[in-house]
Subunit: 470 residues, 2 copies
């Protein structure tokens, strides 16, 4: 059976086919998962790995139930700033370590649906960063080449899916944390419209609440959207939950319908010298055109202005306001880069904050008008990828560059589906992100799914070809 | 004909009946309006009154068209921080005076519908205040007793409707500016869910954008909601416009349907010694019960916490950020109280601002859970009313008291319909406000309309009884 090959894909369809045919069982799958994890050795993907016996016991218990639960026997991973009952959370700041007594609705739904959590994944400390190297738990080893960064902040979740260790993983995403690791590990990152899924599973107040959403890593767009549909919905317990969550279309539509997609004017795009990244973006634009997409080059300045605001303006103060209660007394344990970033937020005034909020509101308005004639927008997920050595030599500037095409998305309240875009000559994967206006998650995902199907790259770092069964 | 009596009501139904029967014409109505205005003498209601000849010319032009336009021949007034093409706007800061070349969608729709703008109304400078005494253009004379404040900031608009000078008026409302003048002039104030009507008609960036909405003063709830339906809708040009605006229910439903309404626990209510205000609130609660309402006393602390945040916390910084461009260079012309209030916003940090935004988000969540079993909430519009002399002796503290039941409403993204609640022994009117959760404008208005109909107080300061034709 396909999944049983050494690094066969654990995508939902493959696993379910195996379960339905009776050719395997959850215990067998979990055993294989732990074999794969063991085989990778010290890969720093996990801050806490559930003991094999515990996961097997859970699988055995599941086997005594019917197969009706929607995620029956599906192995998954959860970022370490998201609570799972009975497991520790740290947000990659060791003194915060605490066993969670409960979780919020989103993760509870995954558990209730029969998914098996294998472990809590490594991350940039306090979810600040797009690189995956700002953790006292080491650097999660990129699924393709350990010299390169895994991407962050949801580094371990991206690698866990890309390396074929689990079927899906949860991360979260304020500036791009759910998309950049997807690009660098050749998987799909679903970052829904903020407010569609409840954030109450995030531990403490570990990230910038109003600009953040939980996100899903999966091997295919259809898998990721299935998970999203399972967890989406308005949650009265979540400060920033949106009522539209209950009625928002999240279906992935097949078929050859025509669509219009915006791209930034080529003269306004930046790849920081990575001509391979530029080539991959252009190839994907052509692929979208072949699929019936009509391209429209649009003015990129307002998006760029918004993306620069995230880390150069008072929005950082929201991070500080969110984490200060958690961090108080543990300042000495902060990663020096994280500390430096949080400190820069301190000198802004409340009037500065509202100036920025107003400027952003205006940019959002301008952006929506620019996108008025388009169904979606396509951007590179990142302009390039860096090695660990490069990032460690220039940690803040290179991190900021990686956010070129991700930072503005939550500020604009948009949704995003990051899909594999192909490989550079050196074998490293990069991504393309399909962006949608607020609550257009279905449209963005449907275009992304068609692109993934047309490209048909192997899934993650496994050798499994894109499933013909899609 | 009823409207032609000295101070007969200009409510929509009365005027339209007169137009349809052919017993009067727009020119005759406009003439009568200017006679009434002239009769009030120097009442400081208008910052700019359209010359009678101009309004008559507009009426004459209308008479040459069919009567099909929805507001054909209806006289109205517009607050002076809202642009009307060809008329000056000042926001009650004289050096800002500028003739507007155009307006935004909301007011344009009123003009296109055949309404006749009689003038631009007085207001608390820069819309900061709930009193109506902070204007270099004098104090709009309360429709009942000139010793008392008219309420603000939309003072002139409230008086213009209450004194029977126009059929409806536009104001705007961040902290209560569209409700307090309604209470003090015995009229209806419709403050929709923020984002339902476009704010682009507001000149410059004269108020706290994200916490503000245009509002409507009218003689009856049905009149006000008709105007609201005419102007509501998503506007891509408005930073804070909401997409739900296009689908939001704004109908006023008659009938004796049962409903549940929340009121604050009596022990948590404040009337600052005004036993008459307390009596009126209790009478209205009993009236709502007679109408089929089941009362539920709820914990008021989260609402009170939110209302205190508006003027005691960093939210004031949004005001400063909104007006600083307008005010720059004109600081000397600021009303001393306005200057003092804006200056207090300066010492807050951006981190303070986000702490407040987060705290508010949590209060909003708690409030929604408290209101979960209720259709609407009922509060006094204000805890009392003050004389001009009292407010001038203690301008900031008494102003803050007036916001006891209004300040939190936009912070909570709720909608509000303020209706007359009856009269104190000294003859001064007070109000009751029916509050609804976001986008429940129809429910709030329907309950408010039933209350107004059951109370059947005379309209405004006119002697016209509540119309039997409702």
């Amino acid at each position: 059976v396909a999944w049983q090959s050494e690094d066969g894909s654990l995508d939902l369809k493959t696993l379910r086919n195996a379960y339905e045919s009776g050719s395997t069982s959850p215990c067998e799958v979990i055993d294989a998962v732990y074999d794969r994890i063991a085989k990778r050795g010290e890969d720093h993907v996990w801050i806490h790995l559930v003991p094999r016996e515990d996961a097997l016991a859970q699988a055995a218990a599941l086997e005594k139930t019917g197969k009706t639960a929607p995620l029956w026997g599906i192995p998954c991973a959860i970022k370490d700033n998201i609570d799972v009952p009975g497991l520790p959370s740290t947000s990659a700041l060791p003194p915060l370590r605490k066993i969670a007594a409960r979780t919020g609705r989103t993760i509870q739904r995954i558990l209730d649906a029969g998914a098996i959590v294998v472990g809590k994944t490594n991350m940039d400390q306090l979810a600040v960063g797009l690189v995956g190297v700002r953790s006292p738990y080491g650097i999660a080893r990129n699924a393709f080449n350990g010299d390169f960064i895994p991407g962050g902040s949801s580094s371990g979740s991206g690698v866990a899916v890309g390396a074929g260790l689990v079927s899906f993983a949860f991360g979260n995403d304020a500036a791009g944390s759910g998309r950049v690791p997807a690009a660098f590990n050749n998987v799909v990152g679903i970052k829904p419209t903020p407010g569609i899924i409840s954030n109450t599973s995030v531990c403490g107040r570990g990230t910038a609440k109003s600009l953040e959403t939980l996100s899903i890593f999966a091997l295919t767009v259809t898998d990721g959207m299935e998970i999203l549909r399972l967890v989406a919905g308005y949650d009265r317990e979540d400060w920033f939950s949106k009522r539209e969550a209950d009625s928002c279309d999240l279906a992935v539509r097949a078929g050859n319908w025509p669509f219009r997609f915006a791209i930034p004017r080529p003269s306004q795009m930046q790849f920081f010298g990575d001509s391979e990244a530029e080539r991959l973006f252009q190839e994907n634009v052509r692929q979208l055109e072949k699929l019936g997409g009509k391209v429209q080059e649009i003015e990129y300045t307002p998006f760029e202005d918004a993306q620069r605001m995230l880390y150069e303006g008072p929005f950082l103060a929201e991070r500080q306001a969110s984490v200060e209660d958690l961090v108080r007394g543990h300042e000495a344990a902060l990663h020096p880069v994280t500390r430096e970033i949080l400190e820069t937020s301190m000198h802004w005034s409340a009037v500065d904050a509202y100036r920025a909020i107003h400027k952003l509101a205006d940019l959002r308005r301008i952006a929506r008008n620019l996108l008025a004639g388009c169904d979606v927008m396509a951007v590179p997920t990142t302009p390039t990828i860096y090695t660990i050595a490069e990032v460690e030599a220039d940690p803040i500037r290179l991190n900021a560059r990686l956010g070129t095409y991700t930072n503005f998305v939550n500020l604009m309240e948009m949704c995003a589906v990051a899909v594999p875009a192909g490989f550079r000559e050196d074998g490293m994967p990069l991504g393309l992100t399909v962006l949608g206006e607020p609550f257009k998650d279905s449209v963005a995902a449907s275009v992304a799914a068609r692109l993934q199907s047309a490209n048909a790259f192997p899934l993650g770092a496994t050798k499994t070809p894109f499933p013909a069964h899609w």
